[in-house]
Amino acid sequence: MENGITNAAFALLSAGFGAGLVTFGAGVGIGKIASAAMDGIARQPEATAKIQTAMIIAAALIEGIALFCAVICFMLSGK
């Protein structure tokens, strides 16, 4: 029985912490995109389709980065 914190415990701790941080970052980023998209649609309802397309692309890119970190957290929590 090891004394102190084991490697596996550290990995799990950092995985949880990292997952929370990633969610926060992704939420803030996509929130800003959505807010700008809402402003754009409110000013010019005719451009809704283009703004929506651009919003989806930007949101998917940010989500991609967030999911990189999610994959790393998965790998960490498996150790």
Binding site: T53, I56, I57, A60, L61, E63, G64, L67, F68, A70, V71, F74
Partner: protein
């Protein structure tokens, strides 16, 4: 105290079993399950490379079969105005052609890569959706499958770049023209790495989106085994809500893969 530790032990055992079941559902395996039957698939190995037929391979074949059948049967007669399923498929094809490919690449260049991009869009969409039906597995939830798709896109991007700008000029043009001389040694490795990170991001984005959705659904349902039984409505409703989100994400990820590939092709064809 003995009872408390026994309960804790049983709790851990339930958690271990839940982890195993979740992993079994997420990862590839050599057996295929349908209703109560279990098929053991052959294990084929050539020169040490494992090319056995696994669950995800069968799902990819199934997706291809569905696509070929749907498109083949719908478009047997060539009419100006199609009815029924052909109409619906034509709607999606026109959406990808006009909003995705022609918007980013223009009509002349877009026509040349249109077959590949349409194939990639429908294949990824079908594979994603097949993972949501009971007894189905997400083939795009396997990093090898998404890596293969990303490698194909990478080859296409490099080939189109080299064809449009000339074999060596394409790489010379990676570093833009009017920049100070001392920045060039930093720009060269950055641009070369940038060549590889974009398809890598395509691969990981698709893989992680598919795996994350299924992992959340399975973990929520696994809560039923770890917690008490009267909590069952909560995980089931949560899993239902996330399954709806999963359907939306399946379409979005197919669309994103396609539009990013066409964007990268457009970037590779025009120098900065």
């Amino acid at each position: 105290m003995f009872l408390a530790s026994a309960a804790a032990g049983a709790h851990e055992a339930a958690e271990g079993m839940t982890n195993e079941v979740i992993m079994h559902h997420l990862m590839d395996s050599n057996t295929m399950e349908f209703l109560f039957m279990e098929f053991h698939l052959p294990h084929i190995e050539i020169f040490g490379i494992d090319i056995s037929i696994t669950k995800h391979v069968i799902m990819m074949w199934f997706a291809s079969l569905i696509l070929v059948t749907m498109f083949g049967l719908s478009f047997r007669k060539k009419k100006m105005v199609n009815r029924g399923l052909a109409n619906f498929l034509e709607m999606i094809v026109l959406f990808v052609r006009d909003e995705v490919v022609y918007n980013t690449l223009g009509e002349k260049e877009g026509k040349k890569v249109l077959p590949y991009l349409l194939t990639v869009f429908f294949f990824i969409l079908t594979c994603n959706l097949l993972g949501l039906i009971p007894w189905g597995a997400t083939a795009t939830g396997n990093v090898s499958v998404t890596a293969a798709l990303a490698i194909l896109s990478f080859i296409l991007i490099q080939a189109k770049g080299m064809i449009s700008q000339g074999f060596f000029k394409y790489y010379m043009n990676l570093v833009p023209k009017g920049i100070p001389v001392f920045v060039i040694p930093i720009m060269i490795p950055v641009e070369i790495i940038g060549l590889f990170t974009k398809p890598f991001a395509l691969c990981i984005r698709l893989f992680a989106n598919m795996i994350a959705g299924h992992a959340v659904i399975l973990s929520l349902l696994g809560l039923i085994f770890i917690a008490k039984a009267f909590l069952i409505p909560l995980p089931v409703l949560g899993a239902l809500a996330i399954s709806m989100l999963e359907i939306f994400i399946a379409f979005i990820q197919a669309f994103i893969f396609t539009i990013l590939t066409s964007l990268f092709i457009g970037l590779a064809q025009h120098s900065h």
